[in-house]
């Protein structure tokens, strides 16, 4: 049986990532289609919120993904930092823009939803602000990668930041309970089981599944791009300048 390290070596990675991508992409398309169908036509309007509740099926899984992607970054960063595994660094790096995208989607749809629900695009409660702040965390993480030419150093520093920033995830998750908030507390993933209407669950989970497989496909593809870009850069660099050596005089 191959060790974890071998499994993750770039050549092997290429061998299993390439065929996986179309499958994941296909799954994404299917689930999006089914999920949107359920969400728009085959689920009840809320007795309070009317049809605007349908934003939920876009919003809630996006918010989940925002948290999930950050966790992926933090875990691969830890692996990359401790075991110095380059693929883990690349995975962390490439997960960031995708996660930032989901975070933005959650913010945007939440804002859209907020206008009819609360009468304002934005409110200063802990849940909303902390997602905004999560967005900053993503930006900071990506900025570190961009700021350094030296990829090895960027990887170490970004990893340190991601690991330290991970403490924020539980705070975002539980901020609704700890802090005065307009936003509703968790009703699906909570102690004591889901508290929302059962008919809302299938489209919610279908959309979540779609987001998940999209994340998988996009991550693998951008990792492949990054790896080949690095190979290219390495090839180009060798002929730039000869390194110095010591000679006795």
């Amino acid at each position: 049986m191959p060790s974890l390290y071998e499994f993750a070596n770039p050549v092997l990675f290429e061998r299993w990532a390439r065929p996986a991508i179309p499958w994941l992409a296909g799954a994404t398309a299917l689930m999006i289609f089914a999920g949107l169908y359920y969400a728009l036509f085959n689920s009840p309007a809320d007795y309070q919120q009317g049809d605007s509740v349908r934003i939920m099926y876009v919003h809630v899984p996006a918010a989940w993904m925002a948290l999930f992607c950050y966790s992926v970054i933090a875990i691969s960063s830890a692996v990359g930092f401790i075991w110095k595994h380059p693929l883990a660094d690349v995975a962390a790096k490439e997960a960031a823009p995708i996660g930032a995208g989901f975070t933005f989607l959650a913010l945007f749809t939440g804002s859209l939803w907020g206008k009819p629900m609360w009468g304002a695009w934005w409110a200063w409660d802990a849940r909303l602000t902390s997602v905004l702040i999560l967005f900053f965390l993503y930006l900071g993480y990506m900025a570190i990668w961009r700021a350094f030419d030296d990829k090895a150093r960027a990887a170490r520093l970004a990893a340190i930041l991601a690991i330290v920033g991970f403490v924020n995830i539980p705070i975002i998750k539980f901020s609704v309970d700890w802090w005065n908030s307009l936003h509703q507390p968790a009703s699906v993933f909570r102690a004591g089981g889901p508290s929302i209407h059962p008919s809302m669950l299938p489209p919610l989970f279908l959309m979540a599944g779609a987001y998940m497989s999209f994340f998988g496909a996009a991550l693998l593809q951008s990792m492949r791009n990054e790896l080949s870009a690095r190979r290219q850069a390495r090839l180009e660099r060798t002929d730039v300048k000869a390194a110095s050596t010591l000679v006795e005089q």
């Binding site: 030419d149 990829k151 660099r237 390194a243 110095s244 050596t245 010591l246 000679v247 005089q249």
Partner: protein, 223 residues
């Protein structure tokens, strides 16, 4: 430190510095590659090479201030036991004196000296010795920022006196020193080697130490 003093210190210094196949990159490009050198107690190396050849890079890597790509760096006591490997954990027997002087312009000369003395854990009298070694007595209460270039450099070099470490990496020490200060510095290096110390000195000047090894960093001939 006057000469009798440092010669008496001979028994203190007996460290050997050893680099094997060291390669260093900066900004993603390999700057120096496959450098090996062993310095026995009393060895002084004068390192030359054109601008940009990697002298500063190499010295910083030796001092544990730059990550090396390959190779190994060891500091050993002369009895053979490995004292420490500077990468990730810069050794307490090394000192690097770079082109900047590590002094604060907003502190006086004496305040700077006292700060270093605390960091290097120098004994009581060391401050006095450092002041006289590089003739800074007249400037004790002057803000370092109001020193001339060469005086500021002398302040920077006086760290060597306070630190009393066996292995020195000194980068362009005499760059803006006048002749007599360069002379002072050279004598000070001689005392250091007489005491069993080791030094690598990167320079472009005519600066020389009797009996020093001369090494040159130069671009590898394209193979």
């Amino acid at each position: 430190m006057d000469r009798a003093d440092s010669t008496a210190a001979a028994r203190l210094f007996s460290a050997r510095f050893c680099a094997e196949g060291v390669s260093v990159s900066r900004g993603g490009a390999r700057i120096v590659s496959n450098i090996s050198i062993t310095l026995e107690p009393g060895d002084v190396v004068i390192l030359r090479g054109p601008n940009g050849s990697g002298k500063t890079t190499l010295l910083r890597a030796f001092a544990g201030l730059l990550r090396i790509d390959d190779g190994a760096i060891r500091v050993e006591s002369a009895h053979g036991s490995s004292v420490s490997a500077p990468v990730d954990e810069p050794s307490a027997s090394l000192i690097y004196c770079g082109p900047q002087n590590a002094a604060k312009a907003a502190l006086t000369v004496d305040e700077n000296l006292r700060f270093w003395a605390a960091l290097y854990d120098a004994p009581e009298g060391a401050l006095e010795t450092a002041r006289t070694a590089f003739r800074l007595e007249g400037y004790a209460d002057r803000l370092a920022g109001a020193l001339s270039t060469g005086l500021f450099r002398r302040l920077g070099l006086s760290r060597l006196v306070l630190a009393r470490r066996p292995i020195w990496f000194v980068d362009e020490p005499t760059a803006s020193l006048d002749a007599s200060s360069s002379e002072t510095f050279a004598r000070y290096v001689e005392d250091h080697r007489a005491a069993g110390g080791v030094a690598v000195i990167a320079t472009h000047d005519a600066f020389d130490i009797a009996g020093a090894r001369k090494l040159r960093l130069a671009e590898e001939q394209a193979a």
